[in-house]
């Protein structure tokens, strides 16, 4: 449940880089830990975000949790399906449950993210 070819943050977001844009969402592990997602607060398209800062809030039945921008840049698109179908984050976290696309400001930031292997090892180390 940790696809190769994506990059991962220590906050359990994934990033799929396509040229100068990255599409992000939360990982399978994160959605499972949250449980059923019932609401999401999306970032505003066009806003500028900074790596590591809160991008929005995802709410499960029990609690609200922030999710974070894996890279800095301008939010170029958000997944308009999510407000009406937040459960897509549980059903298809790497596909239809994507959250936002960010125009990369500094490609060097990608070096700070984990590979699938690195993320797998991090989860193992944390006993997850």
């Amino acid at each position: 449940m940790i696809p190769d070819g994506l990059l991962y943050s220590t906050n359990h977001e994934w990033l799929k880089v396509n040229g100068k844009t990255g599409r992000m969402g939360i990982t399978h592990y994160a959605q499972e830990a949250l449980g059923s997602v019932v609401y999401i607060e999306l970032p505003e398209a066009g806003s500028r975000v900074t790596a590591g800062e809160s991008l929005g809030v995802v709410e499960s039945v029990k609690a609200a949790s922030d999710y974070y921008a894996p890279v800095s840049g301008k939010v170029s698109a958000v997944n308009g399906e999510l407000p009406d179908s937040p459960g897509l984050i549980n059903e298809d976290p790497y596909g239809r449950g994507w959250i936002a696309e960010i125009d990369l400001e500094d490609p060097a930031e990608l070096d700070g993210l984990l590979s699938a292997q690195g993320y797998r090892e991090m989860l193992q180390k944390e006993g997850k």
């Binding site: 019932v38 609401y39 709410e59 029990k62």
Partner: protein, 368 residues
Amino acid sequence: MEEELKKTPLYDLHVSLGAQMIPFGGWTMPARYRDILEEHRAVRDRAGLFDVSHMGEIMVRGISAEGLVQGLLTNDISGLEDGQAIYSPMCAGDGGILDDLLVYRLGQGRYMLVVNAANTGRDLAWIRERAGAGKGVEVEDVSDETVLLALQGPRAVEVIRPLVRFDPGKIDFYRFVWGLVAGARCIVSRTGYTGEDGFEIYTAAGDGERVWQALMESGKNHGLLPAGLGARDTLRFEASLPLYGHELNEGTTPLEAGLGRFVRLDKGSFTGREALEEQRRRGLSRRLVGLSMTDRGVPRAGYPVLLGGKPAGTVTSGGYAPTLKAYLAMAYVPSAVKPGDRVEVLIRGKKCRAEVVPLPFYKRRKEA
């Protein structure tokens, strides 16, 4: 120093079923086995089985037992028959709610009080203090020797039927029988905390696992799922059943909480009576209402409720109501606020509009 969390006799079973365990009221309890929404739907549509052995059971026995219990509670237990249960708040002298509980009349001068886990110790001390010594009444905490399972949902009667020799469908609401369930001696009570039909089953700690397994096995044909405290909370919230620590606390009276029908000022003396009488006479300054979000947002316990842009109340429980597919809240607001009124809930600094709606949010359809 942090006290070690208590485990119910079914702890190992929950872990083996893959439950996510969480601390609750001094206990480590299953929050969910797989998915809260799935467990919630199972209870609304079919059946769910909960281990709620964290609840406290206090036995009150003796020739003065009835007088003691009657003096502790706001509801009137004098008309209770053997095999009957009743819900009641228990108040302090100022009318503040110490706990809300079920009283079972086991026999003449024999009552079982079922109290909230987090309050068991305090309740016990409160009750013992009022019982005094050598006054013809004995107060005993049997919580650790008791397993309590809640079998809830429209299929509950059919799930338990093959395991008992009596007709479970003939037990009226808020009545109970002593009987064998899968060979174990149990109290089978037609009560619950989900807004559905169902039973609460009390048995000895050593028999708990056998009864659980038998119910799970029988429930296979009925789509029964084990359900955790997460679903218990969403279910009771939809049914607008108050939860101690949220809607109820020492700073709140039963009248404010909408529990007036469980306060019997006509029954004679009880602790808190004068204060409640006074409050009823003067009128309430605040009361519990339902809110339904009209803007997008999830209201949560503790969020401020705004009237005309100004803080005027607080959300006590809130969230997504799975059966009603709406974002709802229970909140204390000034008593002039009425269903249909518009308010706002402050969600992470954002004012989100909501409408005041009648409680309960959810009421099951009863078969004719």
